[in-house]
């Protein structure tokens, strides 16, 4: 049973990538355009890389939803804060000028602390006051506005890049070119995702998180400290968001509103995969990343996010519970 459940995400990854590869092969045969297959393969690799970064940030969002049923509109800001905190330690003249690797580790720790602080300082008191769920959604909007503009004041509106690994030449792997930096980021992302899967499947706290997601009351009655689980989920979510932010800032660029732009893609990923399921969030985010990058083969680049969001709406029409969601009433 355990192994079957671990098998699911791998299978989903395969199912997602296999049609894309065959489609690109067919496209080559039909169009006969030289290099289309290679371009498709390149887009696929870019898509997996982009999707893996979205997945890292989206898993936390999905776990938070799974345990306390809160849609955290401020999750994008946790991503931005992770990226800009690393930027401060790494590049900023006012900062200590650390190498990116320790700066990233510090940013992840900071993200975990921030996630925990937000849970303890804001959501727990609000829950204790009996604030309704929908009002809590609106409170996360307020938090998002607050954090985003605080970052804008502290970081500024200018985009920035980290001091290390900025410009690299691509290494060729067959028809696909990828920079060592992007390859490392992708591999690290996949490793982190596997690590989360192992955490959820193998450890006591992982089992507790899954138990609270499935049935909070039953978990509480079985002696699980739900408040502690929620705190751990927030810290995990904050840490993962910060890591995703550093990765995204590394392969793209650091801006004050990067997280807010990623937020909708994260939402698309977790709904696509099934709201509240961590593995669903991983699979859904990969689909979103691949759709976004593959769409550039046929459509203008400035529409790539739009196609990803459109994919979300189409999936809701066909399969509202998402790719890996449990079959339950969602209406």
């Amino acid at each position: 049973m355990r192994h079957q459940r671990l098998f699911v995400p791998v299978l989903a990854l395969f199912l997602v990538t296999a049609p894309a590869v065959t489609a690109s092969a067919q496209g080559e045969a039909v169009l006969g355009a030289p290099g289309f297959g290679a371009r498709a393969l390149q887009a696929l690799v870019d898509g997996i890389q982009f999707g893996a970064i979205i997945a890292i940030t989206a898993v936390g969002l999905s776990l938070i939803f799974g345990t306390i049923h809160l849609i955290n509109f401020a999750h994008g800001e946790l991503v931005t804060i992770g990226a800009t905190f690393a930027f401060f330690l790494n590049v900023s003249p006012a900062g200590p000028g650390w190498h990116l690797i320790p700066a990233a580790i510090a940013a992840v720790a900071f993200g975990a602390l921030l996630g925990g602080a937000i849970d303890r300082g804001l959501w727990r008191p609000l829950r204790a006051r009996g604030t309704g769920m929908i009002n809590l959604f609106i409170a996360t909007i307020g938090l998002s506005l607050l954090l985003r503009h605080v970052v804008l004041v502290l970081y500024g509106a200018r985009p920035g890049s980290y001091a290390q690994y900025d410009i690299q030449s691509a290494i060729d792997l067959g028809p696909v070119g990828i920079t060592p930096r992007d390859l490392t980021v992708t591999l690290l992302s996949v490793l982190v995702l596997l690590g989360i899967a192992a955490l959820l499947q193998r450890t006591r706290i992982g089992t507790a998180i899954r138990a609270v997601s499935v049935n909070r009351d039953l978990a509480e009655a079985s002696g699980i400290d739900v408040q502690r689980v929620v705190l751990v989920v927030w810290m995990l979510g904050g840490a993962l968001a910060a890591l995703g932010g550093v990765f995204f800032g590394l392969v793209e660029i650091v801006t004050w509103d990067m997280g807010f732009k990623l937020l909708l893609l994260m939402f698309a990923g977790i709904i696509l995969g099934g709201l509240g399921s961590a593995y669903g969030a991983m699979a859904g985010s990969l689909v979103i990343g691949i759709v976004a990058q593959m769409s550039t083969l046929w459509f203008p680049v400035d529409l790539q996010y739009a196609w990803a969001l459109l994919a979300l709406i189409v999936v809701l029409l066909i399969r509202p519970q998402g790719i890996l969601g449990r079959r339950e009433r969602v209406g």
């Binding site: 769920m133 938090l143 529409l303 809701l316 509202p320």
Partner: protein, 330 residues
Amino acid sequence: MDWSVIFSDAVRSGIGPIAAVYALAAMGLNLHFGYTGLLNFGQVGFMLVGGYGLAITVATWGGPMVLGVLVGLASAVVLALLLGLPTLRLRADYLAITTIAAGETLRLFYRSSWAEPVTGGVYGLQRFANDFYEISPIPRGTYGVWLVEFSSRDVWVLIVAWALVALVGLLLALLVHSPWGRVVRAIREDETAVRSLGKNVYAYKMTSLVLGGVIGAAAGMLQAIQVQSVSPDTFDPGVTFFLYTLLVLGGAGRILGPVVGSILFWFVLSFLDSALRQAIDAGYVSPELISTSEIGAVRFALVGLALIVLIAFRPQGLLGSRKEMMLGAR
């Protein structure tokens, strides 16, 4: 610090055209969220199709402005149907995410190079409301009392905009006190109970979505007319967030809630802007801490903080009733 300047800035903003536009858009949102309990986070999408419906008809295709207004309203109906069809059967949280995604998708499509021949891409469209200003009965000049002054152009916009707000408010008041309004409010409280009484909940929600969306489109058109231009980036998801802020501030589920909320929201926003600017000039706040270019960001951060505080301590806003706004997990 010159307090008369600060106060007149705030008053001008509080009764200004933008306050009317936001009041109108929030009235549509109030019908969705305050009365029907639909968590629509894509209200800005309705404003976008309204504004662009008008602008494209007149500026791109050279049609008359009246036709443009009709096209704008019709596109809101179409958008509501397209959006409602897959999402209204879903739970509130799904609806929230899907609507915000739909609004952002629309913005990305309208600003893309692909749509540029029709929508003007990132530059948008300009000068399509001349017909509106030509029928203005207000003679040229500036009007106002004390330091609060508007040009004759703005006065004409203000009269039309606030008249529209009053008209829509009246219609909404009649609507929510009709049998239809009672059913819709019952859906907000307990959907299953309404369904068990044999009401078609889906159809009621859809009607509410269409009506609120049309009101949102009217607001979008008003905004487009007021500046004689539409550009895609004025319709970002942040607008919906502000609409929620002022709706919660004024009181959701009350006819006057969005109006009071909008006036107060823009009054306070402008007050903070002007006061901060003067405090920096006068040296009360060191420019090291907050520079003049950061004032916009600071006041939006304060808006976010205000929203959290409101939700925590007074979720019913100024006018609402606490019992009605205890919307629980659904």
